[in-house]
């Protein structure tokens, strides 16, 4: 009875991603008892857990775009971190009207947002063009913006950090007065819900999976495979643009060197942790979202345990290796073989 239940539970696709997340949280419960404490100060909730969800927002948004790229093209977009910096730089450039630091918007706020999103879309379109039309390997194609992106951002800001010292510019990365939760949480959730609706209410989700599994067969049944691949890169660029806006708002400035630094790796990891195959095809968006929260929980955990920022990547790597190998087919095969052997001995 229990065994049958366990079997059913483990066959559920999101079982491992959720189990990983719970595992990380459990470690916290033991090591850092204050981890789950929530506190209300001036109408705003504080606590480690809020911090995790808040800080993970950008990663969640990136992971959504990355999941679709991985699913459709069997490759990864390694330029998302740099695209975040471009979007941030463009946004600040528009709002500051080209000045280095301003205390009031020089252009309407909405114009800055639109410019940032457009920058993200354009970067995505460039990647999509290289991958779908020029048939360049995704890793190589997106390497171009990975290296050039921050340079472009520097060009936009003319090598300086552009500050927007306007109170409501910080709202995106902080709390709207009267709302106890940070704004970015809502944006991340909104992106996930809207994307999910788009995938499920149109045939796009099916098309992406079909193209990822077999591009040629998909073309022959009438799907414009190249167009789908182009679209997912554009969408990934848009997601990077949104994420870039949030980070920029958090530091109310465009710091071309640091916005989204190394985020592409975390985004790819989130997709893998979510149980998605990096070879493309079948995907679960929710898995990637859980993966993103797991990574952020891990980072925050390490900080809470007093690990210094420089050493964090090492610990992160160890945990990631553990989680990813737990999910690998090879491990599952090896594990069942071991169990079979044990039975024989007994």
């Amino acid at each position: 009875m229990i065994r049958a239940f366990l079997k059913k539970l483990t066959s559920y696709r999101l079982f491992l991603p959720i189990a990983s997340l719970i595992l990380v949280l459990l470690v916290n419960m033991i090591k850092t008892p204050t981890f789950f404490q929530l506190e209300m100060r001036n109408g705003v909730l504080y606590g480690y857990i809020i911090d995790v969800i808040n800080r993970a927002s950008e990663l969640v948004i990136l992971a959504v775009g990355m999941t679709l790229v991985v699913a459709a093209s069997g490759g990864t977009d390694i330029s998302v971190g740099a695209v975040m910096a471009v979007a941030g730089a463009v946004c600040c450039f528009v709002l500051a009207g080209g000045q280095r630091t301003v205390n009031a918007y020089q252009n309407p706020y909405i114009l800055g947002v639109l410019a940032a999103l457009l920058a993200g879309i354009l970067c995505g379109a460039w990647n999509g063009f290289l991958v779908s039309k020029m048939k360049i390997q995704p890793m190589v194609a997106t390497l171009i913006l990975f290296t050039a992106g921050r340079g472009i951002a520097q060009l936009v800001t003319r090598g300086q950090i552009t500050y927007i010292r306007v109170e409501n510019f910080k709202l995106l990365g902080a709390n709207i007065p009267g709302v106890p939760l940070p704004t970015s949480i809502f944006i991340a959730i909104l992106v996930v819900i809207l994307t999910n609706l788009l995938l499920k209410k149109s045939a796009l989700g099916l098309y992406i999976e079909a193209v990822g599994v077999n591009k040629n067969a998909s073309r022959l049944v009438g799907i414009k495979s190249d167009q789908i691949i182009f679209l997912v890169y554009v969408f990934c660029g848009l997601c990077a643009g949104i994420a870039g806006m949030i980070t920029t708002s958090r530091i109310y400035s465009a710091d071309a060197n640091n916005i989204g630094l190394n985020m592409e790796l975390d985004a790819i990891l989130a997709v893998a942790l979510g149980g998605n195959s990096l070879a493309g095809g079948r995907f679960t968006l929710l898995g990637s979202v859980i993966g993103a929260y797991t990574i952020q929980a891990l980072t925050t955990t390490l900080y809470a345990m007093g690990v210094s920022a420089d050493q964090i990547p090492v610990y992160k790597a160890i945990v990631v290796v553990l989680i990813v190998s737990l999910q690998s087919e090879e491990f599952v095969r090896w594990f069942s073989k071991m169990q079979a052997r044990r039975k024989v001995v007994a």
């Binding site: 209410k201 099916l206 599994v213 077999n214 040629n216 067969a217 998909s218 049944v221 009438g222």
Partner: protein, 503 residues
């Protein structure tokens, strides 16, 4: 071992999981002969070559090579080469950025004081190539020369390294007629020098213009070895295809309607450079037209150019009287076409998706991305075709890769029937499918035609075509060479047309 025999392979068996790829095959190669290895796809030609060159090991049998008293066992292509067996493949494996001489002597450069002796290398290369009448500048990078010349250099290299047995695996598929002739001159020259050459090809003309002897394989078994003079084309084709008539009764009586006179497809001088030469074709409503020809004769390519899977680059196509420029399959689908590709695995099934998704996907693409079929509709359609085609699957959500080959094929047929096409192309729909399902599919073709659907039917089995087609077109070496009306169609006339020549 007789003195003029270079290589003998005896009772070779090779078993892959589930298939006997080679079953008691003998092969003998004599000194100074060009020996063609013929057979349809899956006959075991490449497996035999790979066993010989040590790419695969074999399960039974022995290989003897002149100069060795014991049977030899090659564990790798390198070892085979050391013993004197070299292979030149269809894709030339040379380094395009290195010079001709470097390519010839790569890995065995003549050295002086630990450095490459360039002068000596160039002069050796020049000497080698001039002996074979190959005119190239040995200091130029390989990429400056045509594929044909590259191939010849590859052959020169292979011969220079070891000169007993030379295997040419489809060397001519990417060459034009003139280049082929040059290659043949080289082959004859090597033959006269005493090299035994094994020539694998699909092209009948070439076999008859250059070879001395033919060995035919079919379904992993040896059909026989014949001197070229004793095996005219017609007989060769018969041996390759095999004339095993199955004893199923004629099913043509299922047809009640004759095709009416409405033209569905009219192609005028349609062609795709490199794959299919310009052809004319007319297909009537409710007609089953068969395309026959050997593999690589352009059967699939003709079908693909009609469907827009490969964009034709010359000629005109009319669908139901309206001009149609095929550029993407979706355009063809909107005009009522459907295409079941030959390579089920690569181009047919979308392996990880479920049976339901595989069936509904073409109709979905036809309707457009934003008009998602409701889940209920999808399930109804799937169930309808699962029961209509008797698809054996655990569930409609089972990934299609878990189904057997025949059932996968039915899923794809169901996918296209769901779009209710006016014209359906079936490229080898019965390949690799058990005999019962085969008959079911043939019956289905006739039923479709009876309801007014036009069918383009491609098959390697002449028998199957005779049972289903109203009318046949014959292809040879990339061009449409003949059309046969129903009363002209017979096993003999079709094979004659496929073989061509004076036979």
């Amino acid at each position: 071992m007789e003195s003029d025999i270079v290589l003998t392979m005896r009772h070779i068996c090779k078993i892959f999981p589930g298939v006997k790829a080679l079953d008691d095959v003998d092969f003998t190669l004599r000194k100074g002969e060009i020996h063609a290895l013929m057979g349809e796809n899956g006959a075991g030609k490449s497996t035999l070559i790979k066993v010989l060159t040590g790419v695969f090991d074999f399960d039974e049998g022995e290989i003897r090579l002149s100069g060795y008293d014991e049977p030899i066992l090659n564990k790798s292509p390198q070892e085979a080469q050391k013993r004197g067996i070299s292979t030149v493949y269809q894709e030339v494996n040379l380094c395009p950025n290195l010079s001709v001489a470097e390519n010839i002597f790569i890995g065995r450069e003549p050295c002086k004081l630990g450095r490459i002796d360039w002068k000596k290398m160039y002069s050796m290369a020049r000497e080698l190539l001039s002996k074979l009448d190959i005119e190239v500048d040995v200091t130029c990078p390989m990429e400056n020369y045509s594929i044909a010349l590259q191939q010849m250099v590859a052959i020169a290299r292979a011969v220079d390294m070891s000169a007993k047995v030379l295997i040419l695996d489809e060397p001519t598929s990417s060459l034009d007629d003139l280049e082929v002739e040059k290659l043949f001159t080289l082959m004859r020259k090597l033959r006269d020098k005493g090299v035994g050459i094994i020539f694998v090809t699909h092209f009948l003309e070439q076999v008859y213009s250059v070879c001395d002897r033919i060995t035919v394989l079919r379904n992993g078994q040896l059909v026989g070895e014949y001197p070229i003079a004793e095996l005219p084309r017609l007989k060769l084709v018969a041996k390759m295809i095999g004339k095993d008539f199955d004893d199923l009764a004629s099913i043509k009586s299922l047809r009640t309607q004759k095709p009416n006179g409405t033209q569905v497809i009219k192609a005028e001088q349609l062609g795709h450079s490199g794959t299919i030469k310009p052809f004319d074709l007319r297909i009537m409503q409710g007609e089953v037209i068969g395309l026959a020809g050997l593999l690589g004769s352009g059967r699939s390519e003709l079908a693909r150019s009609l469907y827009g899977a490969d964009k034709p680059d010359c000629g005109e196509l009319f669908v139901k009287g309206k001009k149609f420029v095929p550029s993407h399959p979706i355009d063809a689908i909107h005009r009522g076409m459907a295409y079941l590709p030959e390579d089920r695995k690569k181009e047919g099934v979308i392996a990880d998706l479920s049976v339901r998704e595989n069936i509904m996907i073409a109709l979905q693409a036809k309707k457009g991305m934003f008009k998602l079929l409701s889940r209920k509709q999808q399930e109804e359609f799937t169930d309808q075709y699962i029961s209509l085609l008797q698809i054996k699957t655990a569930d409609r959500e089972t990934p299609v890769k878990q189904l057997s080959g025949g059932n996968q094929q039915k899923v794809i047929i169901g996918r296209w029937l769901l779009t209710q096409p006016d014209f359906i192309i079936l490229d080898e729909p019965t390949k690799g499918i058990d005999i019962g399902t085969k008959t079911e599919i043939q019956k289905l073709v006739l039923k479709l035609a009876d309801k007014g659907t036009s069918v383009l039917f491609i098959s390697s089995e002449i028998d199957e075509m005779l049972r289903t087609c109203d009318h046949m077109a014959i292809l040879r070496d990339g061009s449409k060479v003949a059309e046969l009306k129903e009363d002209e169609m017979s096993q003999k006339s079709i094979m004659g047309a496929i073989a061509g020549g004076n036979q």
